[in-house]
């Protein structure tokens, strides 16, 4: 078990920086099929490539919320929280948003460009709100955008 990090009692949102790097992901069919099964998605277009192709798709489609999972493929997904000096065990997701401009399918290579788009503190610094916005591109064209609002509870609150 990793050594417990001390939780800072205060957090300066004005000086916080956390650069993030773009990365590429090959969408794997087996991973899509496994995800669909676990979430109880029984429409076989999501699990059977023959049925997907018969429906006019190039391969099985990406379930809309699976893009959040692909976005977690960034190297060391929690490092951004640690880079900010925060404890990810005290992190909960407040809000998530996905906008889809084009359908995505297994076999495609997608580029993710995440960035921290906003950091603010609330309730006298007891809550830190971290907003991450990620553009998803295929062949240099934006096909989706993800927004994640994480909340880190500070101190003992």
């Amino acid at each position: 078990m990793a050594e417990a990090r001390s939780v800072p009692s205060t957090f300066d949102v004005d000086t916080a920086v956390a650069p993030m790097s773009p990365f590429r992901v090959l969408v794997d069919r087996q991973e899509l099929v496994a995800f669909a099964e676990v979430i109880g998605e029984h429409d076989s277009v999501y699990s059977d490539v023959d049925i997907a192709r018969a429906a006019g798709h190039p391969d099985v489609p990406v379930p809309p919320t699976f893009l959040f999972s692909l976005e977690l493929r960034r190297p060391d997904p929690y490092s951004v929280i640690e880079d900010l000096g925060l404890d990810y065990r005290r992190l909960v997701h407040g809000e998530e948003e996905i906008s889809l401009f084009s359908a995505c399918f297994a076999g495609e290579t997608l580029e993710f460009r995440p960035r921290i788009s906003d950091i603010r503190s609330k309730k006298n610094g007891s809550l830190i709100f971290i907003e991450r916005t990620t553009e998803v591109l295929r062949d240099h064209r934006e096909i989706a955008r993800l927004r994640n609002l994480a909340i880190v509870r500070m101190g003992t609150s």
Binding site: I39, P63, S69, R73, R89, E95, E96
Partner: protein, 144 residues
Amino acid sequence: VTEVDWPIGSLLGPQPLGAAERSLLARFADVSGDRNPLHLDQEAARAGGFPDVIAHGMLGMAWAARFVEGHLGVGVVRRFVARFSAPVPVGETIDCVAEVTDRTIGGAGTLLTLAVTSTLSDGLAVLQGEIDCLLEGTPSDPAA
């Protein structure tokens, strides 16, 4: 042209979506890549201020998207914003209901906006959101 008869005020559900069993959270961590120990390790959850592990917010979103697509068709979701208004304790069952709050008819089809709410068995809302869905075709009664 397909008929798209989902006037404003139409309801989808309520419908049970699933139970956030411990084994399911472990499997969801594997397939989603969200391995935050809050969802897997009771000790870590306690350190985070919860009595036990809580469900992934992403699981609740995946369930809600599956629910809406089940009614309106695979691939219709164009936008989904979800606010996680309360944690989902392990073992809880989730129900979901969606209401059509807006309907715009355009060249690409009919864009429905739905207000979606997922609740625990005691009625507490844990996910509140909005889903835009683009359906092919236009309603038989555009004024409705």
